[in-house]
């Protein structure tokens, strides 16, 4: 019986990376130019810290006002509440009186967009989209939103000012971590897993996100086939989040080896390394020890073609329906 082939990690040649320059600035490269990871593509003045703040009572500032860190921005009235204090020095970018919110941005500083990869400039579009041809390792997740590009760091390395424009790698994305990442201006997040209810809130915001394994699952510890483990070995590199494809691209040095072409489906045999997509073993990985002949009747009362799988996590053998399996090939 054939089952889907899961290719979590693959090497691709001549892929196009799109670098987005979100500001009015100066493009520093030309089409055809060969670039290295540190080649400056564009330059501009950018605010590195930006925060939405809620206020009630009387507002003491207006749009475009410069404020100091600790300055009182709004004063409460007769009925109490709390004064709004500026958490850092900056400029009041926008004020929404109806929602009683304002956006505070830190003072603009010089910002250079670097290529982040070895390659060649293929196209410059609308003055702020720069397409670069490069080779890359593609790590496939299960769901993604928006795009993002930046240096890959671990969630534990996230620090003020140093996290702007970075891509955060975390095993599990919770609300606290997400709020922190958003406040610090990260370019995107790669999460092994998160809860669906948190995803509902996060997807409203325009931030790059790739979910590697699913909702509420334990991230696989498998060294060779875990997307998380592979990305953990790429820390410090520039990576691109391609939300619409649920992929993370890690630009690599060009290789002469042709990437392997994998089939979409493969015959399930003993020894196959598999991932289980049925409950109660969802997301577990293991090795097929036997493809059972005939149908197997499960505790649910249903009968189906089945295989015996030795789980990687605890070496326990379980019998699962073949239709819940995918073969891991990398």
């Amino acid at each position: 019986m054939k089952v889907p082939v899961l290719s979590v990690i693959k090497y691709s040649q001549k892929i196009t990376l799109t670098r987005h320059f979100p500001h009015n600035g100066q493009i520093l490269v030309k089409v055809g130019e060969v670039v290295t990871p540190i080649t400056r593509l564009a330059a501009a003045k950018v605010s590195f810290l930006r925060q939405d703040l809620s206020f009630d009572g009387r507002l003491l500032v207006k749009t475009a006002d410069w404020v100091k860190g600790g300055q009182v921005l709004s004063k409460t009235g007769f009925f109490g509440g709390e004064n709004l204090i500026a958490p850092f020095a900056g400029v009041v970018e926008t004020i929404n009186v109806q929602d009683q919110t304002l956006t505070l941005a830190s003072p603009p500083r010089d910002f250079f967009l670097v290529a982040g990869c070895e390659g060649q400039i293929m196209e410059i579009l609308e003055g702020n989209l720069i397409k670069i041809q490069t080779d890359a390792t593609t790590v496939r997740g299960v769901l993604g939103l928006n795009n993002g590009f930046g240096e890959l760091i671990l969630d534990t390395q996230m620090k003020e000012e140093e996290s702007v424009g970075k891509i955060i790698l975390t095993k599990y994305l919770n609300k606290v971590l997400f709020s922190k990442a958003k406040t610090l201006g990260v370019a995107g997040i790669i999460a092994g897993s998160l809860d669906w209810e948190n995803f509902l809130e996060i997807r409203r915001l325009a931030i790059g996100l790739v979910i590697l394994e699913g909702f509420g699952v334990t991230v696989s510890e498998d060294q060779n086939n875990s997307a998380f483990k592979v990305l953990e070995s790429k820390l410090g590199k520039f990576v691109a989040l391609e939300g619409q494809n649920s992929e993370v691209l890690v630009p690599e040095l060009p290789s002469r080896d042709k990437p392997a072409v994998l089939p979409l489906l493969a015959e399930l045999t003993a020894g196959a390394y598999v991932k289980i997509f049925g409950w109660p073993y969802f997301n577990a990985v293991g090795t097929v020890t036997e493809v059972l002949s005939g149908g197997h009747t499960f505790d649910s009362g249903l009968t189906a073609p089945a295989a015996r799988v030795k789980l990687l996590s605890n070496s326990k053998e379980v019998v699962v329906p073949i239709e819940t399996l995918g073969v891991l090939v990398n």
């Binding site: 054939k2 089952v3 889907p4 082939v5 899961l6 290719s7 496939r140 299960v142 769901l143 809860d195 669906w196 209810e197 995803f199 509902l200 699913g214 909702f215 509420g216 699952v217 494809n245 979409l264 489906l265 997509f277 049925g278 409950w279 109660p280 073993y281 969802f282 499960f298 505790d299 649910s300 009362g301 249903l302 189906a304 699962v320 329906p321 239709e323 819940t324 995918g326």
Partner: protein, 316 residues
């Protein structure tokens, strides 16, 4: 020859006709990378898989583009015209708008809503629909019941016969569990005869312009929904003496009645009287005298007990 294909969210059901003119239904798992693939790519993959399964090279000659049914939200509105038969289709992809507390209210055990929402999300995304444990069967059934209620099918009365189809109804271990999903999901009052599409042949047959007839499916039997308290006289297979049954307003009663056997049912209840000549099937005759719309007890322990009793009445 490959006749037609039904594309579900993670799989496809292909209807194949053999040289002896017998049908074969082939289930094809679609690669996970196909979630966003075009219909033509999926079609090619299904044709290849059917060619391998049947060793029939002629499958490639099949011009299938116009004989494909895509299952999405719109399928519910199209069912009657597609099948020429009243039907309820429960998909393997669940709207995220389904209220989780409503799903949990159908579960006879405690379940964290975060876990439930994660299971639902994973299932829509990558999960297999195959229930391995009894707990999974109950969760799938709870989701199906909530979908039926949300869609508001058959709120007032029922047609003479109905087909229960789609992945959930293909994968219930016992025929009585298909009836249970129907009874807990609908709000209407009256009698109907239920069929179950056990192998998932209904939509591919409709796509291949084959006449879908009730005989192609498992005949489950008759159900009567009439809120009690209720006194029912049952005259099995033309009997002169009635079997008298008294039901309160929280009961489900199942009576053995094989396919081909008949029963005359005369009911007297607070909501009025009814009389019908009904047919048997694998499940038999089921009389549901619970209040409509169905209201389950608020207290968790009481609700668990009541749900287990309902399950016991139908699946004894």
């Amino acid at each position: 020859m490959l006749l037609a294909i039904e594309f579900r969210s993670h799989s496809a059901i292909a209807l194949y006709i053999k040289k002896n003119y017998n049908f074969e239904v082939i289930k094809v798992q679609l690669p996970f990378s196909f979630c966003g693939a075009s219909q033509n790519e999926k079609l090619d993959e299904v044709i290849k898989s059917v060619a391998v399964a049947t060793k029939d090279k002629d499958v490639f000659k099949y011009p299938a583009q116009n004989k494909v049914v895509i299952v999405d939200e719109s399928i519910f509105g199209k069912l009657k015209s597609l099948l020429n038969l009243e039907a309820i289709y429960i998909s393997d992809s669940f709207s995220e708008l389904l209220p989780l507390p409503d799903i949990a209210s159908y579960l006879p055990f405690k379940m964290n809503l975060v876990e439930l929402s994660n299971i639902r999300a994973n299932q829509n995304l990558i999960g297999s629909f195959f229930p391995i444990t009894p707990r999974d069967v109950v969760i799938q059934a709870a989701i199906a019941k909530t979908i039926i209620r949300q869609l508001g099918f058959y709120k007032d009365s029922f047609p003479e016969e109905m087909l229960l189809c789609g992945p959930v109804f293909n994968l219930v271990p016992r025929p009585s569990q298909a009836v249970e999903i129907f009874l807990d999901g609908v709000d209407g009052v009256g009698a109907t005869y239920l069929y179950q599409d056990k192998v998932g042949v209904a939509l591919p047959m409709a796509a291949a312009s084959l006449k879908v007839v009730a005989g192609d499916f498992v005949a489950l039997g008759s159900v009567v929904i009439w809120p009690g308290p209720l006194t029912v006289d049952l005259f099995f297979d033309g009997a002169i003496t009635a079997q008298k049954v008294i039901l309160d307003n929280e009961s489900i009663a199942r009576f053995p009645l094989r396919e081909g056997q008949t029963v005359r049912v005369i009911g007297h209840g607070e909501k009025g009287d009814f009389e019908a000549e009904l047919l048997g099937g694998e499940v038999g005759l089921v009389i549901d005298s619970r209040h409509r719309p169905l209201v389950l007890p608020q207290t968790e322990a009481v609700r668990f007990k009541v749900l287990k009793e309902y399950w016991g009445s139908l699946n004894k």
